[in-house]
């Protein structure tokens, strides 16, 4: 009794049948604030998938007479919600078009980092010993390095191509996954049902796949959502510095870079993409935190 009281905060030691999951998900879904952010992310996702089709105007269509119009202005073409750039291209359309590559790079890089991190983390956590020490050294090594500078160096040497960006960015995120997965795997490895699986005659591989990994899934997902945001910011930084994505491809980072010289006269050129970037990362953070509580990852 005392034990369960400590754990659940109640003397009845109530475990609700499914661990309270249904109740939590229901609470989560009916929260208005969160729905707004989820809606926003869905919109961004939609933009990313459909590209410039959804944009009101062709982002590459120049209209010099309508250059540098502030937000909420009209031109002969139509209404510009977010203004136009020095060549008369509609900002909103540019940003929608930019969403695609930004998201693509962020998601792919995160997944790559996740795959590497989870694999290494599981091996380190399950087998321990030499494997564990090796992986730990690697993570420590990398955490000690200023990864952003390394990325800059890498891109300068290898050339600022999208493919190189996607190669180097996972390096930023894999240690976080490895750490998390290693700790969780070690905890799960000591669980009785894993010992039961060993006693039943299961191979190590099947134990890792069928017992350990599913119990890690929700935690990994929560981390992945946050890391997409981090990667997005990192890519924006690199593109801003000019060694990431190059024109004619657009990402938000690049848009910010192009708008920087005009900050004094046409603030919306840099601020608008920056805002969109910031809102997206914020939305991802909030979603991640809510996912953590809803999936009971904290429990």
């Amino acid at each position: 009794m005392a034990n369960s009281a400590a754990a659940t905060g109640t003397i009845t030691g109530e475990h609700s049948a499914d661990g309270g999951t249904t109740a939590r998900w229901r609470q989560w879904l009916t929260s208005w604030g969160l729905l707004i952010w989820v809606g926003y992310l869905l919109a961004i996702g939609l933009f990313a998938m459909t590209g410039s089709d959804l944009a009101p105007y062709d982002p590459t269509a120049q209209q010099v007479l309508a250059r540098l119009l502030p937000p909420f202005s009209a031109s002969s073409r139509g209404f510009h919600w977010l203004g136009t750039d020095p060549l008369g291209r509609d900002m909103l359309s540019s940003m929608i078009a930019g969403a695609r590559l930004t998201l693509f790079i962020a998601v792919v890089s995160t997944f790559a980092g996740m795959a590497v991190g989870v694999a290494l983390g599981m091996m380190a956590g399950y087998y321990g010993g030499l494997v564990d020490r090796l992986v730990m050294r690697l993570t420590e090594l990398q955490t000690a390095m200023p990864m952003f500078l390394v990325a800059i160096f890498f891109l300068t040497v290898m050339g600022p191509k999208v493919i190189n960006v996607i190669i180097i960015l996972p390096a930023l995120v894999w240690p976080a996954f490895a750490s998390l997965v290693r700790a969780e795997t070690m905890r799960l490895r000591n669980c009785l049902f894993v010992e039961a699986a060993v006693a039943s005659g299961c191979t190590e591989r099947s134990i890792l796949w069928a017992h350990i990994l599913p119990n890690l899934a929700s935690r990994i997902a929560v981390l992945a959502v946050i890391e997409v945001g981090h990667v997005m910011l990192a890519e924006a930084g690199l593109s801003f510095l000019g060694i990431g994505v190059q024109p004619p491809q657009t990402t938000w980072g690049l848009l910010i870079a192009k708008g920087r010289p005009y900050l004094a006269v046409a603030w919306w050129l840099a601020i608008m993409p920056g805002l969109m970037l910031g809102l997206t990362v914020l939305a991802l953070n909030l979603l991640s935190r809510r996912l953590a509580t809803a999936s009971g990852a904290a429990a």
Binding site: M1, A2, A6, G9, I11, T12, S16, G20, A23
Partner: protein, 331 residues
């Protein structure tokens, strides 16, 4: 027994919890009384309400519990449920003390044990540091912890389970309470250590003139330490009587079933035990009828429909079964 008013008088105690699964009636209209220096055993399985009942008397709930508590708990004439938290805090520890099941989680792992005993003395009795420490050492001696001077500064992890339980007892009796509630104090201990702790409790009870409420699922433990027994099931009190009466003339079907469960170590060998079918269920929501009816081999329609009251079958022996008198007559 003298006609002294009872030490503890519980009337219609009802404890309900609001949980994810609905309303849990952990303690359902329980009434009993306890005289000074009397030892009562509260027997039941999980969901019987035996522990919650005792904790309810002192309003010891967890911070996240959503509780509805009704009834009256008269301790030396004062209704504990009406007291303020501050007044109740004073009673806890000085008048009524509790010893829990698991000494490992009940003791502070980073504080020396002597300190933990002295803490109670300093707080409740306002003793000075030195006086409290001295008394703590005396108490350690009293409960059978050898070399108290040296062991005063040891941490709980340096003691065995039985020793830790003795420390818990020392903390509990430090202010010489009138009532000691022991919640499954020996369940987590080895059977050989259990004997020692129970003997200690018996001895202390006699020396300090305490009343004892021994909560256990083990009728043997209760038989060895108590004067009377209360059997609980599903939050209700199903049988109450002296140890002699209950063991020789058990009346309620649950009591008889419990007695038959324990496989004996001597006498005839039972290859097959006599289990009670089904499982002990906690009482969620409304429920009509006898709580035990679904598992009772003697149940009739009436049992499922109506709640039986407590029938008096002999002096100081009550049984809450529709067939209590019949069963008593034929026994």
């Amino acid at each position: 027994m003298s006609k002294q008013p009872p030490l503890l008088e519980v009337k219609n105690l009802c404890t309900q919890f609001l949980t994810a699964r609905g309303v849990l009636r952990a303690v359902d209209d329980v009434s009993f009384s306890l005289r000074h220096r009397e030892a009562v055993g509260v027997v039941g399985e999980s969901g019987s309400g035996k522990t919650v009942g005792a904790l309810s008397m002192l309003r010891l709930f967890g911070p996240l519990d959503k509780v509805a508590l009704t009834g009256q708990v008269f301790f030396e004439g004062t209704d504990l449920l009406q007291l303020s938290e501050a007044e109740l805090q004073h009673i806890r520890g000085t008048q009524i003390a509790v010893v829990f099941q698991d000494p490992l989680t009940s003791l502070n792992p980073v504080m020396p044990v002597g300190e933990q005993i002295a803490e109670s003395l300093r707080h409740h009795r306002r003793l000075t540091q030195a006086a409290a420490s001295n008394r703590a050492r005396e108490l350690m001696e009293l409960v059978g912890i050898g070399d108290p001077a040296r062991r005063f500064d040891d941490l709980p992890e340096q003691f065995s389970g039985g020793m830790r339980q003795r420390i818990m007892i020392a903390i509990a009796i430090a202010c010489e309470p009138k009532l000691l509630i022991a919640d499954e104090p020996t369940t987590a201990l080895d059977v050989t250590v259990q004997s020692q702790v129970l003997m200690l409790l018996n001895r202390l009870r006699k020396e300090l003139g305490m009343a004892l409420m021994m909560i256990s699922h083990d009728l043997g433990v209760v038989a060895a330490t108590c004067d009377s027994v209360q059997v609980m099931y599903g939050g209700r009190l199903v049988e109450r009587g002296t140890v002699e009466a209950l063991l020789s003339r058990p009346n309620h079907p649950y009591t008889t079933a419990l007695l038959q469960l324990a496989p004996r170590l001597d006498g005839e060998l039972q290859r097959r035990l006599k289990p009670i079918p089904g499982q002990p269920m906690a009482a969620y929501g409304e429920r009509r009828g006898c709580r035990f009816a679904q598992r009772c081999e003697f149940a009739r329609e009436r049992c499922l429909a109506e709640d039986p009251p407590a029938f008096k079958i002999e002096e100081d022996h009550f049984s809450a079964c529709w067939f209590a008198e019949e069963r008593f007559a034929s026994a």
